[in-house]
């Protein structure tokens, strides 16, 4: 059992015993050794279920939406990505910072359950240390800007329009429209998704490459300036669509056009597409 697991359980026990939190969201072991899904611990007697290992891949923050108006505080274990996700939800007016107690965990990356290598979502992580927390576990992990995370995007940009279209056709052909990408995404926090607004008819229900593409492109644009690069969408996708190649394209462009910006590093900075600058680049003259 790792050192962090022990500390995690101690903290959870303490928080639950003292009544600081009503319940705490962390991770537990699944059926198999390469599964550590989210867990909800409601009493100090069950803190032994909590675990911290290299398979704690799933995000915890999105669950805060299931309990927007809690009776007491919600405890939550948060890695770097979860902390930014929490900021995201706060900034989007979904949850209240006062309602949550954040136990930050400095995270040195998780493993892909299928291969045992570093998970893709962690490979390009720029903020492994929780930027917002009430208490911090573990020693901060060195952070780098990882400009190499845009390499795949640059390569794609070099293709001709038809080649690009072909590439994305091959990807969207695979999509089964299970909406796992949307449901794990902390930026996808609309009360009602455009997909479900069936009376408006934004999205056809038939599964074909083009409807799938319409979904993919619309979703990525919806979260354009709010994507926190947690990589959950691509991880959750059962069909292995490289969804972060879409998100990062927008992030790259936003940075280039409107200046350096990282979503949800705080809860105050207005996202770039929700503001403007008189001096913005002019291409539409």
């Amino acid at each position: 059992m790792s050192d962090t697991t022990v500390k995690m359980r101690d903290i959870a026990k303490d928080l639950l015993d003292k009544g600081t939190v009503d319940y705490i969201i962390g991770w537990e072991k699944g059926r198999f050794s390469n599964q550590s899904p989210p867990a909800f611990i409601t009493s100090a007697a069950h803190v032994g279920r909590l675990i911290w290992d290299e398979y704690c891949l799933a995000g915890t923050a999105k669950y805060l939406l299931d309990d927007k108006f809690p009776t007491g505080k919600i405890g939550i274990f948060a890695r770097g990505c979860d902390a930014r996700a929490i900021n995201r939800l706060i900034q989007d007016g979904q949850i209240n910072r006062e309602n949550i107690y954040i136990v930050g965990i400095c995270c040195s990356g998780m493993k892909d359950p299928a291969t045992g290598n570093t998970a893709e979502k962690c490979q390009y992580c720029t903020h492994p240390n929780p930027i917002v927390n009430d208490i911090l576990l573990g020693d901060p992990v060195p952070e780098t800007n990882k400009p190499e995370r845009f390499k795949a995007i640059e390569e794609l940009e070099r293709l001709s329009p038809d080649e690009k279209y072909e590439y994305w056709s091959k990807q969207f052909e695979k999509c089964i429209r299970c909406y796992a990408c949307r449901n794990v995404c902390p930026a996808c926090n609309c009360r009602e998704c455009f997909v479900d607004q069936y009376r408006v008819g934004w999205q056809g229900k038939q599964n074909n490459e083009d409807e799938n593409r319409l979904f993919g492109l619309t979703r990525v644009y919806h979260i354009a300036d709010r994507c926190i690069e947690c990589g959950e969408c691509a991880r959750a996708c059962p069909m292995g669509l490289p969804l972060m190649e879409l998100n990062r394209k927008l992030i790259k462009d936003i940075n280039k056009l409107f200046g350096p910006y990282e979503a949800s590093m705080d809860t105050e900075t207005t996202p770039p597409l929700a503001k403007y600058n008189l001096e913005d680049i002019e291409e539409f003259m």
Binding site: P38, I176, A180, N207
Partner: protein, 335 residues
């Protein structure tokens, strides 16, 4: 026993593909699924199970039902769409074979017969390959499926190492074997029985669940569900569908497409009322459908133990853990 050398499988498929579409487990674009023989991709018989189930063959994710044309108030055309054609599905595993049986129950029995399904089913020949090894997520034998064979297949094959044992189980299967005469040898072969490493005890679970509709366990089980449709779309037996229209000016078509009981929109009525408003009710409906409701109606579980949802659920909502948990619960405990 009649056998076919593994090295000659491509020839087998070539022969079969002359007369009808042959679907083979292939890895295409990183996804393993039943793919028409001859298309780009790599044959993936070594994988225990394909990522996408074979249900698409009989019940496509999007299926055109009929097209229409209108002129003002008048309907000038209404044409039923039937794209059924002879198909052979090769290399179906016993669990997926069982799933076809479940779908047969749904679409072909109980007062109405679904013609779209029936047309395709009647033209389908199934070739099942018994499993010689199992994946850690396999639990078909707990669901009453023999991993080595399935009696409903037209042709049953057995993995004998360097060759496949092959036998016809129906007339259609025999007709198919007749076409392969030149490739079939007579050879002694030893069948090795396999069993799943993952076991669950499903005895009496249906009756027990029948008493647990209001049990607090649902809240606990559903809590980590994120409400996506991965489990239902990868499930070989989930057959729920929606029917929608694609209209373009004066013409259009009506299609049906897979739908998922995990989606909030699924049970919402026109007036806005939703009998299953939260994931609590939705998870309950899915698990009860798999293990109780279907049993009551058709006398079998709607879970075949293929293990796809176990490995692909983004948050590992695990039906086997659920079954274990149900076993432990005392039903009479105060709610």
């Amino acid at each position: 026993m009649k056998t076919i050398a593994k090295s000659r499988i491509n020839e087998v498929l070539d022969i079969l593909a002359k007369e009808s579409k042959v679907l083979v487990p292939m890895k295409v674009n990183g996804v393993s699924k039943y793919t028409p023989w001859g298309s780009e991709g790599r044959i993936a018989l070594e994988e225990v199970n394909t990522l996408l189930p074979p249900k698409d063959t009989l019940f496509p994710q999007t299926e055109k039902m009929y097209s229409y044309k209108m002129a003002n108030q008048e309907i000038t055309e209404l044409n039923i769409h039937d794209d059924s054609a002879p198909q052979i599905i090769f290399g179906v595993r016993p669990c997926d074979m069982q799933s076809i049986k479940c779908m047969d129950d749904v679409f072909l029995t109980k007062s109405f017969v679904d013609d779209f399904y029936k047309n395709k089913r009647e033209k389908l020949t199934t070739i099942c390959i018994g499993c010689s090894r199992v994946a850690p997520t396999c639990f078909c034998d707990s669901m009453g499926v023999d991993p080595g064979r399935h009696e409903a297949a037209d042709v049953q094959m057995y993995d004998l190492g360097n060759s496949y044992g092959i036998e016809a189980q129906t007339e259609a299967g025999q007709a198919l074997l007749n076409k392969l005469q030149g490739l079939i040898q007579e050879q002694a072969g030893e069948l090795t029985a396999v069993s799943c490493t993952l076991k669950v005890d499903t005895s009496g679970i249906s009756d027990k669940l029948a008493k647990m509709f209001e049990h607090p366990i649902w809240k606990e089980v559903s809590r980590k569900c994120i409400g996506c449709g991965t489990c239902t779309y990868l499930c070989p037996t989930c057959y729920c569908f929606d029917m929608e229209i694609k209209n373009n000016g004066n013409e259009g078509y009506r299609f049906r497409c897979w739908d998922s009981c995990m989606f909030s929109e699924y049970s919402r009525m026109a007036g806005g009322h939703n009998p299953r408003p939260s994931k609590n009710e939705r998870i309950r409906n899915r698990f009860l459908h798999k293990l109780e409701f279907f049993n009551e109606r058709y006398g079998k579980n709607l879970c075949v133990g293929c293990g796809r949802c176990l490995s692909k659920c983004p948050v590992n909502v695990d039906i086997t853990l659920f079954i274990d948990k149900i076993k432990e619960v005392a039903v009479d405990e105060p709610v």
